[in-house]
Symmetry: C2
Subunit: 213 residues, 2 copies
């Protein structure tokens, strides 16, 4: 956040339109749609909430909702953490074991997410555990995150990012992370997600061999 390169703008120092009215409105609309969705979902549940209701509460037309989000699931799940994670990942030392890099990146991302909006993280995990459609989309988006991982893993181990080994390792990790989120939601959000995630990483690091302790 606050990553807008403020840099000397052509405007006088104090006042800063920075974003045109159009852009600001777009952001507001996006937020309005998301907020409306979160509220309605909390009130009625996900399935019972229709796009029409969301549009009404957000004071836009249904068309506009679809213009901002391709699917209903995306309204709940869309975020912008991937680029941040990538940045963070690149910042890690070259010789660090990749799984430790992942650990750091995840920790940072979760911290950030929890600081910005602790509700959302929980709602997502909860819906991911309950609603199949959401879980699916959730998995898809983690798969995309997994692609970033492949890149990093390949660089660290000097292997082809498209090799079976790299792909399987990355995806196994994604699967594990996914399950952590489910576990967290299903156990009523006891304990911190970060701690659970670190435990999970320990398990996977040591391998799924014999008595993987």
């Amino acid at each position: 956040m606050t990553r807008m390169t403020a840099a000397r703008s052509p405007y006088s120092p104090a006042d800063r339109p920075r974003l045109g009215l159009r852009e600001r409105k777009k952001i507001k609309t996006r937020e309005a749609i998301r907020a409306a969705t979160y509220a309605l979902v909390k009130e009625q549940g996900y399935d019972a909430t229709t796009i029409e209701q969301i549009a009404e509460r957000a004071e836009v037309s249904p068309s506009t909702v679809f213009r901002y989000f391709p699917t209903k699931e995306d309204i709940v799940l869309t975020d912008e953490y991937d680029p941040l994670m990538l940045e963070e990942l690149r910042a890690r030392p070259e010789d660090e074991p990749w799984i430790d890099s992942v650990r750091h990146v995840m920790r940072k991302t979760l911290e950030l997410s929890e600081r910005e909006d602790p509700e959302v993280l929980r709602l997502r995990a909860h819906l991911g555990a309950q609603v199949p459609a959401i879980r699916s989309r959730y998995f898809e988006s983690m798969t995309e995150t997994g692609r970033l991982l492949r890149q990093a893993l390949a660089e660290r181990t000097g292997r082809d990012p498209d090799s079976l080994e790299v792909r399987v390792s990355a995806m196994a990790l994604i699967g594990g992370m996914m399950e952590v989120s489910m576990y967290w939601a299903e156990s009523g959000f006891e304990g911190s997600l970060r701690d659970l995630m670190e435990q999970a990483l320990d398990v996977m690091k040591d391998g799924l061999g014999p008595g993987n302790p």
Copy 2:
């Protein structure tokens, strides 16, 4: 298959209606729907194929299609291997490392599947790689398979099947297996899926640690 407890039936030994006309028709309808779907998908692609077309070709009404399969994706993906896998898994020696048991079970299941219908396995992998909706459903069904795995893993390692460790291990493995299928499809079905799967299991067994070789 052929697990129907044949036991002394009230019929004379030679002739065996065994399944009433009703049951036989149901099986035939089911197969007709599946066959129609596979054919149409091969001709036109998945998205372009509608339930109406499927119904028409299978010579049933759309209602009936939905009565047999809850979703379009299920027509493509539904199978009955899970119970077989469970059986197979229980047959493995108690003291075998669980991941080796998985290896054997997967090998057997893939052999069987390839013997019964080599086309289907490929079509599924292909669609899983191409069509998001199918991939999602695919993942869901593997997740269910993962639950069986949890049980077995727990028994072997004397841990709670609902513990984070067990759940993460099982799901990581599922993620890895999922990726194997994608890999296979994306590389044009080169090599045998079984070999790829075994490679993947080796990778995961050794752990996702430092330079997981």
